[in-house]
Symmetry: C2
Subunit: 201 residues, 2 copies
């Protein structure tokens, strides 16, 4: 026996989300049936709108509304135009912006170099970074904020080798102990990095 088609379709849609299997999708679909009509309609509209009304910034690759391209950050001339922070995705931009501590520009790769999954420099938003750097000679530092894993490090290394000869300062976010963390809970690699990067008091 099958569920009535409207709910079967909703279950099928939920299973397309990452980490959501048949059981969870069924639970979510039935939960949806019990939600306020207004919330479900909002949800339905938000899905369509997110797909229709958003695009990637033509300058930095961050997500932005169709009506705002280049994005808010790229259009903000009050920001430091000499520094570009390179990140893997739009969520990283948000995390950094929420610190309110960085006032330069961004470049969103929308991916990382990953030989194991066949993702090369041309497959991510990297050629546009090279173009941007050559067109904007005022940019003198590229901060590489890719994640701290094999692929993030490989991407950082690639960028350093490519950009340093062009006279651009390439820096990497510091590795070390998280603020508030316990040394005995830190993993070995983090501890080693923390010792290597020790600073004088």
């Amino acid at each position: 026996m099958e569920y009535p088609e409207p709910i079967a379709k909703l279950i099928a849609s939920y299973t397309k989300l990452p980490g959501i299997g048949q059981k969870t999708a069924t639970r979510l679909a039935f939960y949806t049936l019990g939600m306020a009509e207004e919330d479900v309609i909002d949800f339905s509209k938000a899905l369509a709108s997110a797909k229709h009304d958003l695009t990637f910034c033509e300058v930095c690759g961050n997500i932005t509304e169709n009506t705002m391209n280049p994005c808010v950050i790229c259009q903000d001339t009050s920001r430091d135009q000499t520094t570009v922070f390179v990140v893997e995705n739009a969520r990283d931009v948000m995390a950094m912006e929420n610190t309110r501590d960085y006032h330069g520009l961004y470049h969103v790769l929308n991916g990382v170099i990953s030989p194991s999954s066949g993702t090369g420099p041309e497959d991510i938003n990297l050629p546009s970074l090279i173009r941007r750097l050559s067109e904007h000679q005022e940019i003198d530092e590229v901060i590489v904020g890719t994640n701290v894993n094999a692929e993030g490090e490989a991407t950082a290394m690639y960028l350093a080798r490519l950009l340093k000869p062009a006279g651009i300062k390439v820096t990497r976010l510091a590795h070390g102990l998280a603020v508030g963390s316990d040394i005995d809970y830190a993993d070995q690699l983090t501890l080693i990095k923390a010792v290597q990067g020790r600073t004088e008091l």
Copy 2:
């Protein structure tokens, strides 16, 4: 800084689902942006349709399409009209139907009696069961298939006390060891129930 409105709205919608917090919702929203346009539109339509095109069967309380009321099972005269299987929700009907071993009717309570959360017999689909039983004298057995927990048991007990005096046989699903399970992994209550319900070989 806030995300562009279309994605902020989508994140807000995802957080309304059970067990999905801000972080997961953000991850799902960005994943949605990367999904095939067709899949997202299907998802959007499925949400609206599930809310608009489904209703509760006027006889048994199971979910059914607006165009099919009473539901497929209630309309199927080839089914055994003398037995009603009482369950908590529509998913339980599906689980039972998938066994292909039961051929009677169902009654979906859409809840359980739960004094602790203030849910009484009138708050679930129970009055309609009483009405149904009095209108259909051919029903001679009610199988109570509520979940095996305090509330499910309380609901089963309530039904037994209410229906037995009216001459209706009220049965409860057997408690015991799951097929394929190990005795040493079974919880104590299940073991006790399995001993109490032992059968002669």
